[in-house]
Symmetry: C2
Subunit: 554 residues, 2 copies
């Protein structure tokens, strides 16, 4: 019996219907649903159009700004989505899409996601999540154990203890980093006699009370851009995110770090925290975490590790040592939607000490009351979906040993690809892969030879053209739609820190084959001699004093 | 051809398999999938166990802290999820679950969610989202138009213009509120001669430069708890979130507001912003937005409206006037996962002026480069899923007129329920519904009579028992599992602002019938005479000097 107040009419009946009766199995939507269950990858691949459409062209399908007055059929919307959205989306699961951190999903994530979405739990409180709350706490406990490896007693005591937290799920690494630094900031300026704490009095009151002229966070220049955003949001200011030069392996320069710390201390700038990177977004490099932990101990500041990308390396017995020292971090960011192959929206921040979150605890009258088991008391977000369910499933269905295989094959594939690039006379490897990310660029022999003897001014000129050329190749390859690498700008020591545009490759899709990698290089060489790169190539010939007819460019 | 490096072995082959071959249609997972497509509501309802299990009992299934070493079968995990998680989850879609803002989903959201998850786009950048980017911008444009109702020229100019933004999607209302106040804070202390801007120099530098002793945000005491969190995160401090008393209709007291503003100005506290509430979480009340807009204009501060819950009231021609003044707000929070019936994780913040976000703009080398169309340049979050697709679908499949029906029936159902409560001698309506939220409590005649003549001390004593009683009834009803209302604590003017625990009811599920509402009240009356309420009732009899045998309690 549905509700029938006085204003009941036929259109209301139809509104009720959408909440109850599924479309017939033979409907368009039913068919899509069926096909997606049967052969997800194939179905999507068949629909996604490879060749890039101009964005202005795409926008035309999304130009109406009025909300449609009348309902349309579900099947019409499904058709629209297939033609205009799926067709024009990015095939992130393709094994030749190796430019960003979004890779393929294990097929079981799809039906299980459906359970998650259908249940529509809200993890902010137990009353809308029940079993999802202890499940999330368990998953956080497991990841805590992966990082900190405490004993059973520790987890028996803390994993499910309300008022304490081993970490929290959040929408992604950015929110995880902000949460960690929020904790670091609030711990640093905690309440004490004559001061109610920064959470109540704010930064201005905190600095005045503690007697500082500013508060800083230190990180290498390879740090993720979310850290600058965190410094802004948290009221610290971007200028107080102190970026330390990276060495020629893209790791933080410890001498510079110590120097900077002294300088800050001399200028009465409080050091809130230090951030180590475990898998930088651009180069995949890992900071010397153990030595950073030593320095953080000396300085007595919060040590955060941004392992959003590299954290799952800990699954590998062979490569876990690269992250040595992460177990000394006060907090760690790790994304399940990256190398744990969970759909988008599954970030985590893990805290070594389950009491650390006390400085960000908050309550309300209608939920997250004191003493409750509601997870929302310690999270930056409020309402949140039960995506921990999907990591729980990943950890059980793939297992530690399965993740180990995935991690190791990614790292070893990257090493192989680096060798392929180094052996190819038309390319230059810019950053060696420490994990499964590397960067390189097009560099034919004649340019390499010229650079060996060029004056600084000539190097500048050549760099400028190479930068434009790399950009053009990357864009053309993306537009062509067969494969995709991304690009970034680095300042390599071997080029005297000149800005250098490079191709960036992330190798996390287990289906990416050696043949695909070879094809990526071949296609790039073809693009060099295409119209879109013609102008840059002419400039290179001129700068290197060679005749286009006499050189092998691809 | 998959990648076969030297370490290839059988277990790696099995890892590849999980990324490609779906389980057979007859498998457990295939069956679940099939059943969910066919009859989602029925399938889940059959599995969810109604009676509450003790949390300590539940935790036992989630006590292992080690990541399993070996993979298990997908079907085994699916069985585990059904038995231990689905069975012990909360049936948020049930029409008798009327305690929180998580309601039923239209059935079409499920298959369409599958497309979203399978495509796994990342909206932070165009390279991982393509058509999803203009689609998101369109949806934001539509919601902007719903609120601000600008003309076609405006949307043609701004909707797809990179570098500008009509708003952003985020995981929920909390992030939306934080984003809005982040913008307000940064605009207030923007760069000017001799000052690089708060985003670079931080709050301490900003207040020193601008010559203030603090920075405040004003909101009624009914404001959502996320605003306190925002004040903490943004470095303003919770003490500077100035909470203004609400009147007897739970709306901000404008006299108090003006008084407080004067006081702050006198004390050299900058006023960053003012927050109006359009549908408070606890009572559903709406602040006098138009008058608040006047005051914000006078003070020259940012005016934000938290319409996370009440925003969709604008779909109704009949009730949109309740939100009059919202079109004068600088920013508005609105949640699609509440009254727009999209799955969890779809918050939005909308900006009147598309240039407002310039003060929070940020860039990186490998994505969100200057001039790009990447949405990530103006969002608090980084990687984000393409959930705008589901609101796009809701707006088209339900249409404005459909949402209008849903909104109106919710408001009118709440009015009807209020009449039912007022006509029942055992209950007291505490807050009348302005939208579709109301609060009430158990209040038998004999207590009502006693209160009419009781001394302040006696009122205190009775209130104390009633508070405990309301809590006990609410918990017992939840544990019983048939229906669910939530509870909160208010300070009603008619009880001289004494703390008053109340039942809170949110009526957003179109399937909630009059019979269900009647049953909720009947069950509560039954619970009053059950063992769990015995002690409280004895105390009430004693305080009111009545014999339990001579009164009608339920």
């Amino acid at each position: 019996m549905t509700y029938k107040p006085r204003y009941a009419d036929a259109s209301m009946e139809s509104m009720y219907r959408i909440f109850t009766v599924p479309e017939a199995p033979g409907s368009t939507l039913g068919n899509i649903d069926q096909k997606l269950s049967q052969n997800l990858a194939g179905f999507l691949q068949d629909h996604i159009v490879a060749v890039e459409k101009d964005l202005r062209e795409l926008q035309k399908d999304f130009s109406e700004s009025e909300i449609p007055e009348k309902p349309i059929f579900v099947s019409d919307q499904a058709d629209f989505l297939l033609d205009k959205v799926v067709a024009q989306s990015v095939h992130t699961a393709s094994p030749s899409f190796i430019g960003h951190m979004t890779s393929a999903l294990p097929y079981f994530m799809l039906p299980l996601s459906r359970i998650m979405i259908a249940l529509n739990q809200n993890l902010v409180k137990i009353e809308t999540s029940k079993a999802f709350t202890p499940m999330e706490r368990q998953v956080l406990g497991m990841i805590h154990r992966l990082i900190y490896n405490q004993n059973d007693d520790f987890y028996n005591q803390w994993m499910h203890e309300p008022g304490y937290s081993l970490g929290s799920f959040c929408s992604g690494g950015t929110i995880a980093n902000i949460t960690a630094l929020w904790v670091a900031r609030n711990q640093r300026f905690n309440k004490r006699k004559g001061f109610a704490g920064i959470q109540r009095e704010g930064i201005y009151g905190a600095l005045k009370h503690y007697g500082y002229e500013g508060a800083a966070i230190l990180v290498s220049e390879r740090g993720h851009y979310s850290l600058g955003k965190a410094a802004d949001v948290l009221g610290i200011g971007r200028d107080f995110l102190v970026c330390i030069k990276a060495d020629n392996e893209n790791k933080i320069d410890l001498v510079e770090l110590r120097k900077k710390i002294k300088e800050l201390q001399k200028n009465k700038i409080a050091i809130i925290g230090m951030v180590g990177i475990a898998g930088s977004s651009e180069t995949g490099s890992v900071d010397p975490l153990d030595q950073m932990a030593d320095i953080a101990e000396e300085v007595d500041c919060h040590f955060h590790v941004d392992a959003a990308w590299g954290g799952p390396t800990l699954f590998s017995k062979k490569y876990a040592h690269i992250l040595k020292g992460v177990e000394r971090a006060d907090s760690v960011t790790i994304d399940a939607h990256k190398q744990m192959y969970v759909p988008m929206g599954a970030g985590m921040v893990i805290f070594r000490d389950p009491n650390l979150v006390s400085s960000i605890e908050h309550h309300a009258e209608y939920i997250i009351r004191k003493g409750s088991k509601d997870l929302g008391a310690h999270t930056l977000e409020g309402s949140r979906p039960g995506i921990a369910m999907l990591l729980h499933s990943g950890l059980r269905i793939i297992g530690r040993s399965g993740y180990e295989i995935l991690i190791e094959q990614g790292i070893e594939k990257a090493k192989d690809f680096a060798v392929m690039i180094e052996n190819d006379p038309h390319f230059e490897l810019i950053t060696k892969p420490e994990l499964n990310i590397l960067t390189y660029r097009y560099m034919p022999d004649f340019v390499r030879e010229k650079l060996a003897t060029a004056s600084p001014r000539e190097v500048d000129q050549i760099q400028d053209v190479l930068n434009r050329l790399t950009k053009r190749i990357q864009k053309a390859q993306r537009a062509h739609g067969k494969s995709f690498v991304s690009r970034t700008t680095l300042t390599p020591v071997e080029y005297d820190r000149r800005r250098t545009v490079v191709f960036r490759v992330v190798l996390a899709n287990p289906l990416t084959s050696r043949e695909i990698l070879q094809d990526v290089l071949e296609e790039q060489k073809q693009l060099v001699i295409s119209q879109s790169c013609h102008q840059c190539m002419q400039e290179l010939y001129a700068l290197c004093n060679v005749s286009p007819l006499r050189v092998n460019v691809g």
